[in-house]
Amino acid sequence: MTEQELVDYFKAQMLKDPDMASAVAAIRTLLEFLKRDQGETILGLRESLTAATDCLTGVDSSVAVSSGGELFLRFISLTSLEHQDLSRCKKVMEERGELFLEKISMSRAKVAKLCHTFIKDGAKILTHSYSRVVLRVLEKAAAEKKRFTVYVTESQPDAAGLQMAEELRKLDVPVTVVLDAAVGYVLEKVDLVIVGAEGVVESGGIINKIGTYQMALCSKAHNKPFYVVAESFKFVRLYPLNQQDVPDKFKYKADTLKSVQNLSEEHPRIDYTPPSLITLLFTDLGVLTPSAVSDELIKLYL
């Protein structure tokens, strides 16, 4: 499967199901790649899978794509591959891949089930930008006949918050769009803050759309709980110490990275929220405190 075919397949998957996380689409692509691969050795297979993941990050530079790819590779090779026949090994890996895909497609439902109980009747929720996981959670809470209002930040530069507001209106949830600069203003009215995450790092902090760090700082100052909802395939083996420490390849969109010479002129797309500002993380592995994320990561990766 050539690079171009890979990219096309990936884009097709994204178009087919816009509700699906980009990481899931990437993993589907990698599975397809595995099935069509003509390699002769397991090591060669692994290398070509890593190359494919890099290629996909070139298309969509979010953290989740690279973490999802790495976890996929780990999961399928975490079995005994002592069979004589290469095709049998590949079969085993393909089965594991299908299993992995199945597990992660259930993950959003699991997260929603865990989180909706934290939304009390009459709650006022603040959220940031457009997150499909948060949407799922709010859907579940609405289905449980809870009454709540939502404040969404506009989230420039792509105004994704407006899309979130649209989706919420379809669920008959009263929603207000606020300016990014109005977060401090509106925080005294809200009861809790729920955001999604593009990536969860080893320290227990998160990488998310720019503006999340500000929101976390303000909610800490107001003593409001700050919840993060994320699936487990977003756990990544990064450990940023501060904003500057996040690698450039995640901060900007993939095409910006390729075209622009001087990155200091560009606006970063994401920021890092340290674990001290996060109250709880809701994942399909359970409800975790930020310090427990490292334990889970050790289990997943080591």
């Binding site: 227990g204 083996r237 110490l241 501060n242 500057q244 490292s294 334990d295 050790i298 080591l302």
Partner: protein, 548 residues
Amino acid sequence: MADSEVTDQSGPKDGIERAKNEGKELTKEEKQRLRKEKKQQKKGKEKKDDKAPKESQKEKPPAAAAQPSTQPSTQPSTQAPSQKVCSAVPAPAVAAAAAETTAAKEKPTKSKAELKAERRARQEADRASKQGKKGDGAQAAPAKSKAAPSELQPVVKRLPEHIQVDNPDVLKKLAKKLERQQTPENIADKKIPLRSDYGYKVSLFSHLHQYSRKAPLTQQLSIPSSVIHPAIVRLGLQYSQGIVAGSNARSVALLHAFKQVIRDYTTPPNEELSRDLVNKLKPYISFLNQCRPLSASMGNAIKYIKKEISNIPNQCKDKEAKNKLLNCIDCYINEKIVLAAKAIAKYAIEKISDGDVILVYGCSSLVNNILCEAFEKNRKFRVIVVDSRPRLEGREALRRLVQRGIRCTYVLISAVSYILPEVSKVFLGAHALLANGYVMSRVGTSQIALVAKAFNVPVLVCCETYKFCERVQTDSFVSNELDDPDDLIVTRKGKTQLENWQDVELLGLLNLVYDVTPPDFVDLVITDLGMIPCTSVPVVLRVKNVDM
């Protein structure tokens, strides 16, 4: 008969019975004590060869019982003295027991199984008789047990004896124990001397030892007929004079000295290498502990060696066994120290970017290694070395870094808040990482971490996994080391102000060596397993124990 003897025994027995009645599980210490008391009862009646098999069994529990890593040998031996309430015969030390085990091997009269059955029957009888007795009774609690209200605390915890220096009974027991750690021939002058404390101790730290460097332990040793191997004597002297200092250096020196001991060792006839060598090492470890308290890394190394020695199969020949042990030690040094340093340097270099200003404190071999490696990989950074009295270790670090060509600045710790706005990262070494995530390091480290946190500067601690210790500590008072107070005396312009500090009644000089830093001040710990947050130390310990 058995019952009446039991009723003469002091309180601890009641405590154990109560524990049984209340259905609580006996700790290992309780079980050991129980066994020893049973043995005591029989001592008056039974023959000597009956005692021997039981003592060989008693040897195993002390070896197997979970010990705090810093006190591997003192606890079981010091429990033995607390039982010698009524008996006239001194409790045979584990070393002496070896002789009796030999005797037992030569003429076994009763088999072990029969003796066990007898003992079990007696225990049942005791339990039945004590069933109704809920005596609170005069609990003549042993000097080391903590809580007096025994109704609340049937399970008695013991404090490690190295932090009970202000308790005279504990000191007496330590002296007796050192006396007993001698050759099987029981010659009186071949004992390990007890080092005495020096000078007035500040009351908050009076539970710790404070020795003077001018009175090394070796002056009290008799030459040449000392029970201690000369390599160990040399090592002890190097420790107490501060010639070998620094966590890694001390562990490596210890392991090399043990290698020499193993090379010179020959198994006595009718002995097993796996048991006898461990017993030979015990007096050495006590001696080294007296010269300078053992560090956490040394404790872990000793645990490893003891485990390796006791895992030597019996049919292994002397030469083979010794080669195997020497290999094990070399492997340990290579893996846990040398290769770990390389792995840590690899991870740490990712965190050093061009234009960084890095602050280091004191002289950590690991941090110096990292900085030198990063410099070789052409990272552009400069270093600020912070130093403090009385050790002034920063000068050594400064010397090493400048030799490599790294740009350095040197300040004293009092200027740290002045210089921190310039700093982008802080790299600290560690003496040990405790199980609750606290970092034990040279005194002054927690201060630097605190100020760095206030300035929002990331603090990175570098530590190999062999320094992870299962102890838990939340403050620097409970367990620490007091260095020679005379080190604080300084002569400037011909005047020595504190020269006669001992004459001033109300004056005390405090020279602390370590302090603990809470995990909130540490952003990242770099270990050979990777980069982990400070709170994940127990997970690593768990994983490691599974491996071992």
